[in-house]
């Protein structure tokens, strides 16, 4: 019984980390229709900035987190203006893939030459080290924090997209860009803001998830498959879909590792195949249709 509970808790914690990083990808993919394979690279940049801010500049964890998100967004906004703007729209899929994977390679090489191939660490504050008792299971305080941050992200995004003026305009611009523009919505600015949102979420995930997905230059390529899997299962553009997918995959992966570790990642990918077989567009179809 204790182990079933343990699998559930570990699975949810792992799932929430996957969710925080992947939901940004889901936003750019579903709402802006950009296959942003550089998403993992943006998460990695966020993590590196936080690590640098905390270790070299000596900022506390919370400040490093804010600085990392802000700087990553600021650094990538010119990319939206110069590069991404040219590849919006579903007709451009091949160039999207080529551009963003190329960008990933550039960032990987840049990080490697700037910071070297060793692991980087983001030191945790006293409050987040140690464990919290959750029923019969003690879970790391950091994971509890991540679960909370994930839930907050979920609610915040839902509120932003469903309840605010920004969300209404964005959905209009996504559904029919020409009509939205004709009605006076400045779609270019909306896209810029959405891109910033996606990048910011990537950086946030990169920092919060650094304990589980360690920061090294190949982070960007190593984990992008995980993030894409979550978006595929959840349905592009669906926030609740991403959350459901991340939790489902996290729990299945944890159970597989606990019960039959020799099978490796078999269960993760088997689940992926079966889910996509039944729901080819993901759990929630999202806004792209």
């Amino acid at each position: 019984m204790e182990s079933v509970f343990g699998i559930a808790v570990d699975g949810i914690a792992y799932g929430m980390i996957l969710f925080i990083i992947s939901v940004g990808l889901s936003v750019t993919l579903g709402l802006m229709r950009v296959v942003n394979l550089a998403h993992g690279a943006f998460a990695m940049v966020g993590g590196y900035v936080a690590s640098y801010a905390a270790q070299v500049a000596g900022l506390p964890y919370a400040a490093a987190l804010v600085v990392a998100v802000a700087l990553t967004v600021l650094a990538t906004l010119p990319l939206e203006r110069l590069l991404y703007r040219r590849i919006y729209g579903a007709a451009n899929e091949l160039s999207q893939v080529l551009l963003t994977i190329g960008l990933t390679f550039v960032i990987v090489a840049g990080i490697n030459s700037l910071f070297g191939p060793t692991l980087k660490r983001i030191p945790l504050p006293e409050l987040l080290t140690g464990t919290v008792a959750l029923g019969p299971k003690a879970i790391p305080a950091h994971r509890a924090f991540v679960i909370g941050a994930g839930a907050a992200t979920l609610l915040g995004l839902w509120w932003l997209l469903e309840r605010t003026d920004f969300g209404i305009r964005l959905r209009a611009a996504v559904d029919d860009p020409a009509m939205a523009a004709a009605l006076g919505i400045r779609t270019e600015r909306l896209y810029l803001a959405t891109f910033a949102l996606g990048t910011g979420l990537a950086a946030l995930g990169g920092v919060l998830g650094a304990e589980l997905l360690p920061l090294e230059p190949y982070y960007a390529i190593r984990y992008i498959v995980l993030f894409l899997a979550v978006v595929a299962v959840g349905g592009a553009g669906s926030i609740f879909g991403s959350a459901a997918a991340a939790l489902a995959l996290g729990i299945i992966d944890s159970a597989g590792k606990y019960l039959i570790p020799n099978f490796g990642e078999f269960f993760f990918y088997a689940a992926l195949i079966l889910i996509l077989f039944r729901w080819p567009h993901g759990f929630f179809k999202g806004r792209t249709a």
Binding site: A109, L119, I139, P140, E211, P261, G264
Partner: protein, 394 residues
């Protein structure tokens, strides 16, 4: 990036060849196959550092011959490409030695080639026992899992540990470690409660920790190759209450290799590992080695077991060139260094004539704070350990 790097290297090598070209003297080339880019670039960097340091200390010439290293990048483990690169080095570059090899499958793949071309291959890292069984022209200056695990398991049994769990990465060296631990620990009266094989690409180790906890074992024998996953593993061990519960974590030193120590931080404080090299090794040779390393590269943060593997490997290559008088015959060259002993930064070492693997002292180390940095501080030494996993006649 690799191409530019390669071009730059070739250019530099070419320039050197021109500069050092008095008539009569030959250039002996050594082809190094290792990851210089990609997720395992640390191996390539440390190999190159080790070679550069040896050449800085002992010169670029042996007798009248100039020794030149030619580097080839093998980003990830890829036996087919390792073979192709080796072929290119042998046929086009006309190398007299192969060296490097971070991973077992890559080393194994070149065995038929080095036999056919009759050139020696010096393995700087790959650690499965079976490698030197594949060709009589392999010589190895790193370690094997058997070599590191046997004294560790004996130590654990001596300390009165009765039950243990093994948790190893699911590939060649991991399985070697598991077999070595089980055989030695059970022979010494211990009981292995569970054997867990973890996928090489795992990120989340919490489920494995839960499983270890459920067995109620007193200790864990863990092996993961040095790299990003060791961080997540060590963290998971500390974070899931196993440390608090008093479960002891043991393993070969990959898990606490020097370049990772700053990132691992307090999570590995007090962790005991067995290994052949620690930066904190207290000997004159090691102090001189580290001083020279700092002088050449600015710091010794990345000086680790793979640097020393390459450094000693280069020593072996120089010896083979010297013994051959400039005309390299692969089989004879290997024959000439069998039984060779010297003082390495890790301590006294000998090339075992039977297995062509390095016989060395294995140290028991604990991670401690020395000043403000973490070090693997040596607590005990087991002298002259051979490769227990070598099966002669295979």
């Amino acid at each position: 990036m690799t191409r530019t790097l390669r071009n730059a290297l070739l250019g530099a090598a070419f320039g050197l060849a021109l500069a050092a070209g008095p008539a009569g003297a030959a250039t002996i080339k050594v082809g190094v196959i290792a990851p210089f880019s990609g997720p395992f670039a640390m191996f390539g960097k440390t190999f190159k550092d080790g070679i550069a340091q040896y050449q800085a200390e002992h010169g670029r010439t042996v007798g009248a011959d100039t020794v030149e290293f030619v580097y080839r990048d093998l980003e990830q483990t890829n036996p087919a490409q390792a073979k192709a690169l080796a072929q290119e080095l042998i046929v086009k570059e006309r190398v007299s030695f192969l060296a490097g090899f971070a991973f077992t499958p890559d080393a194994m793949a070149v065995a038929p080639l080095i036999d056919e071309a009759n050139i020696p291959a010096v393995v700087f890292n790959a650690a499965t026992s079976a490698i030197t069984e594949k060709s009589p022209r392999f010589v190895r200056t790193s370690f094997t899992l058997w070599q590191n695990t046997v004294p560790l398991a004996e130590h654990m049994a001596r300390r009165g540990i009765k039950t243990a769990v093994t948790a190893v990465s699911d590939y060649g060296p991991g399985l070697d470690g598991e077999a070595a631990f089980r055989a030695t620990f059970e022979k010494n009266g211990g009981k292995v409660a569970d054997t867990i094989r973890m996928p090489l690409k795992s990120n989340d180790f919490a489920p494995f920790m839960q499983r270890i906890k459920d067995t109620g074992a007193e200790a864990v024998y863990a092996f993961l190759p040095a790299g990003p996953t060791t961080l997540a593993f060590a963290k998971a061990f500390a974070d899931n209450g196993l440390k608090e519960k008093g479960v002891k974590l043991f393993g070969p030193g990959d898990i606490t290799q020097e370049p990772d120590l700053p990132a691992l931080g307090d999570a590995v404080l007090g962790m005991t590992t067995s290994f052949h090299y620690s930066r904190a090794h207290d000997s004159a040779a090691n102090k001189a080695f580290l001083a020279k390393h700092r002088e050449l590269f600015g710091n010794d943060d990345t000086a680790t077991f793979t640097t020393v593997g390459a450094y000693d490997g280069t020593h072996l290559i120089y010896q083979m060139i010297q013994n051959s008088g400039g005309k390299i015959d692969g089989a004879k060259a290997v024959e000439s260094v069998k039984g060779l002993s010297w003082e390495s930064p890790r301590g006294p070492v000998t090339i075992d004539p039977a297995s062509r693997h390095i016989t060395q002292t294995i140290y028991l180390r604990t991670v401690e704070k020395v000043g403000d940095r973490l070090e693997n501080v040596e607590k005990a030494a087991f002298a002259a350990q051979p490769d227990y996993g070598y099966k002669p006649g295979k």
